[in-house]
Amino acid sequence: MSTEDQELLEQFKNPETRNYAFNLLVREYQKRLYWHIRKILIDHDDTDDVLQNVFIKVWKNLDNFKGDSLLYTWLYRIATNESITFLNQKKKRAGVPLDEASAFLAANLESDHYFKGDEIQAKLQKAILTLPDKQRLVFNMKYFDEIKYEAMSEILGTSVGALKSSYHIAVKKIEEYLKSN
């Protein structure tokens, strides 16, 4: 764990500096977590809901964080779990099978006011949305966020080998989609 994170945790444990430390944590990690969630859920409002819930969970559970992993991998894990749970609930409500999100999220993408990409970016995003949730997650984390496989392994609880293979398959699928469209 980094010295900054350690200091932050110590400040959080002190009731007098607890709010200040939490505010620092939110400011430090909000962007990274937001973009991580946004790539899963696509829609800004959904992302905002989930991100706020993630921070509330962090507030409630930070005292129990033992520092066995890096703080940011712990935060990413919470954000990933919350996002997947939210997505599955939304799919259930919409009557979409849990393993099928493509059309559902593509509709989100088309109605998203905060998408500023050009045609080719839109096509790439649609290609990414054809991937199963877990594969999509691995692709986004590796391709856009450039997170190391070791860190991803900690966040997702999957072996490095499986992640590498998942990323490789995802890249091939996306390439195929781009070729055929």
Binding site: F22, V26, D48, Y114, D118, Q121, Q125, E175
Partner: protein
């Protein structure tokens, strides 16, 4: 040049010229392997996915204006609400703390005793008329009853009178006249 500038230059010249910046100890040891990994990944990507590789890599999504400036305040407000909301679990834990245990138990015992007392004293109303008359008769003096029956002897016998007679008979009062 004035004196003070000369002093500063002298001081600077006298300083041990040392790089004030530092890196992680393993940074340079790992640098070449990191670079090699990046090159491998790039080459792999360009060989298996040339179309994907040709797409400029940037984040195509936006947020509303000032979203990240406002979010910490919104989160803090929600945290305050959460802190003020006592969940059922926390409430139960609080109640069963030693300092609250005695008053809570007292209230429970008083409530239990009260309910028990009310259940005992509140009897179900007797709707059986026959039983009701027998109950009433038990509290009336027997000679009064005999007088009453004699007085009614000449009048038409009612169900109620028959019940009075039955009662007297059961209590071994054969002679009523």
């Amino acid at each position: 040049m004035n004196n003070s500038t000369n002093i500063n230059e002298d001081e600077l010249n006298g300083q041990n010229k040392k790089n004030p910046f530092e890196t992680d100890n393993a940074y340079f040891e790992n640098f070449s392997s990191k670079m090699q990994n990046r090159i491998d990944e790039f080459e792999e990507l360009s060989s298996i996915a040339p179309l994907l590789n040709a797409i400029p890599k940037y984040n195509p999504f936006e947020t509303p204006k000032a979203y990240f400036e406002e979010l910490p305040t919104i989160v803090q407000e929600r945290v305050i609400k959460v802190k003020n909301t006592v969940t059922m679990k926390e409430w139960l834990i609080q109640i069963f703390q030693p300092r609250f245990l005695a008053p809570v138990l007292t209230v429970l015992i008083v409530a239990f005793t009260g309910i028990n007392y009310l259940n005992r004293t509140t009897t179900t109303p007797i709707i059986n008329d026959e039983y009701s008359i027998y109950e009433e008769l038990e509290h009336i003096d027997e000679s009064t009853l005999i007088e009453e029956v004699v007085a009614l002897k000449t009048t038409e016998t009612t169900d109620e009178n028959e019940q009075v007679v039955d009662y007297l008979l059961e209590n071994e009062l054969e002679e009523i006249n």
